[in-house]
Symmetry: C2
Subunit: 408 residues, 2 copies
């Protein structure tokens, strides 16, 4: 796997403890590596849970398990395996999930449906039950660990541990929100992305938490792509322990509901951007804003067409101001667009307007912008009020090196 | 540009002359290269023409010109510029096209609408009229050239000249069909691909020729992808001079119509595969067959989801039997699929069935297959009778090298 830290990495933030949440880690040795790869988080009784999961037609049994358990709205534990996604493994994979849930439920004295699971890694190899059982038993016996240790333990091809923090005032109480996430390749979330876990001490009913998470997802995880490939295991779960003592949030009209929703959206946005910053082989973070589209949905699709274009991404990798490839990606998106109204911006420089390069176009400021780590591309379609922003990274030799020999 | 010949290249075939078709080439010097880059083909009076063009919302003025001229159904000349696509260049680009058509029409004594044009290369730079005029004048004065010279002159990042030939018996006469094509990157044809030109001495009415070409396109150019990026200039034109002397083909019930349609479909299939064989950076040709889908259309979309997945393509590049990525690509396609009915084949080896690896799966024959140049992936969804085959190439460091610095 890649070992060099992404040049776009951010330092691990200072995170508060969330009362009612206790992470532990252990070695299950799912791969021939000497690192922890099983994360076990206990949650106080009464913790509400919400989640968004991959829309893949070939989901992992963990995703199916979570989808079912989310209906009950309560959680007591989270178990995350790194190094094996357990996807596409039939009855053996399902049995491995049921076994982990049952063992954890027995340990905590709760129902198996209170246990949430996620696994990440190679597809098609059943999670080895002997290793997961031994890892889980070790985690039961382990001392509580730091957020950073937990964030490191859920990593696969990630080159840095990822977390974010925010807070809000709800019902006169300050509530904390902390999230950890992993993801680097196979990132094109379809309503969710890779594995991310949000913990808050706020009190919130599961229905409210689910609605707030779905809303936050629309402007965060659903707006990033590394390679256009959607995982079989994408999972974002949010756990609210209620230990902050606010009156439980039940709907958008409650005092503090807006503040909590905004804080959750901010946290999810931070987490999503961290994934792009660790995109496989990434050297540059690219923000693509499309406006003037016929609708927000149309703007999003055009922005994603640009963000997923290998020719746009390789041009950015080469620091090449080849804006014609943006024209190409708008043209192929299958959405309403009129060539002769199209305007394109790189950084602060307008490069094209009304269907051709601006008069007296000077490439120098664009070339300078492209030498930086954070690249901005703006497209104005000149048709309506639809608007969207998405984030991606460049496509480099690093991506090829990482993925041409992933399993070895 | 890339100079190493694709390892998947085929030798240039022996091509017959097509009576009524005369190619010539010249140096317009659209780039700082010492090679011919303007192709000029004259066609005898009465030549029928048909075409399929990019569905991009940002088409080049050449594409718009051809779309309009195709309505008249007759052609006297073809002019192809390599090194500059003239796309997204506003009024100056349109003027360049009108100027070339007018100059050619004056030279031949025909209408400008009898002149078909195509350009390929960088987007966003108007075709320089002084260079194109000088190149065209040189071509008017040049000796006729070989098919191979014409096929070389339309190349850009291509590493080998591409042509195909076939024949059919129509109305008791043997008719010849010859095609030349270019294309290597920005290949995800949306009803057409890059620049390809088919010449036949068959006599055919334009409406018949158009229907036959559209039908051939559905199983050839519409079934290939190199990088999922659709060009602003994709153009396939078919010219039928009628010099073979058969009674002109007017409809599917005519004698020889079936033979001609089959021959045209065969020719287009050959040409499309040549483009994939010269995909930028390609080391392996990948054939993906999806069957058991709910419809042919659904099968096609799933096959394209696999063919455009960078993770599948990098795994093939790495000769890595990571079939889980095929599962991922089926799952993300947004088409009906049931994980637990899915079966996957690599070469002749069944690797997965009913939602998991086959019992006793042995990777050795798959690994051996992946070491070859031609890779076959089969997917059976187990849902219905829908079927599709598409072709792509692997994604290698070569693609990144070629495209991270295309313009320099």
């Amino acid at each position: 796997m890649s070992t060099e830290r992404s040049p776009l990495a951010l330092p691990f933030p200072e995170l508060p403890a969330i009362a009612g949440v206790t992470p532990r880690i252990a070695r299950a040795r799912y791969k021939t590596w000497d690192r922890c790869d099983l994360t076990f988080v206990t949650l106080d009784p009464g913790t509400a849970v919400a989640g968004v999961l991959t829309q893949s037609r070939c989901p992992s049994p963990e995703v199916e398990w979570c989808r079912k358990a989310l209906g009950l709205g309560r959680a007591r534990a989270l178990v995350v395996n790194a190094g094996n996604s357990n996807a596409f493994t039939g009855d053996r994979g399902r049995a491995a999930v049921e076994n982990l849930a049952a063992k954890t439920a027995r340990h905590l004295g709760c129902d198996p449906s209170d246990v949430f699971l996620a696994s990440t890694g190679v597809i098609g190899v059943p999670l080895p039950i002997d290793k997961s059982e031994a890892g889980l038993a070790a985690a039961f016996a382990a001392e509580p660990c730091s957020w950073e240790a937990a964030a490191e333990t859920i990593m696969t091809t990630d080159t840095f541990a990822k977390a974010a923090v925010t807070r809000a005032v709800v019902d006169g109480r300050t509530v904390n929100l902390v999230g950890i996430i992993k993801g680097s390749g196979m990132i094109a979330p379809d309503m969710a992305t890779m594995l991310g876990f949000v913990f808050t001490d706020a009190a919130a009913e599961p229905e409210f938490l689910q609605a707030a998470l779905a809303e936050a997802n629309r402007t965060s995880f659903s707006c990033i792509t590394v390679d256009g490939d959607t995982s079989t295991s994408d999972t974002i779960l949010a756990f609210a322990t209620g230990t902050a003592g606010n009156a439980p949030l039940t709907g958008d009209d409650d005092a503090g509901a807006d503040a909590f929703r905004a804080a959750l959206a901010d946290l999810c946005h931070q987490l999503a951007l961290l994934v792009v910053r660790d995109g496989e082989g990434a050297q540059k973070l690219i923000e693509i804003t499309v406006e003037g589209a016929e609708s927000d949905r149309s703007a999003h699709r055009i922005a994603m067409s640009i963000a997923n274009s290998p020719l746009v991404k390789t041009a950015i990798a080469g620091e090449d101001a080849n804006w014609g490839r943006v024209v190409m990606a708008v043209g192929k998106a299958g959405e309403p667009a009129e060539r002769d109204r199209l305007a394109i911006r790189f950084g602060a420089t307008q490069v094209a307007r009304n269907g051709l390069a601006v008069s007296g176009y000077d490439e120098a400021p664009v070339a300078a912008h492209l030498k930086g780590r954070e690249i901005a591309i703006g497209v104005d379609l000149g048709l309506g009020d639809g608007r969207a922003t998405v984030w991606t990274c460049d496509l480099t030799h690093g991506y090829i090196s990482i993925n041409a020999d992933y399993r070895s």
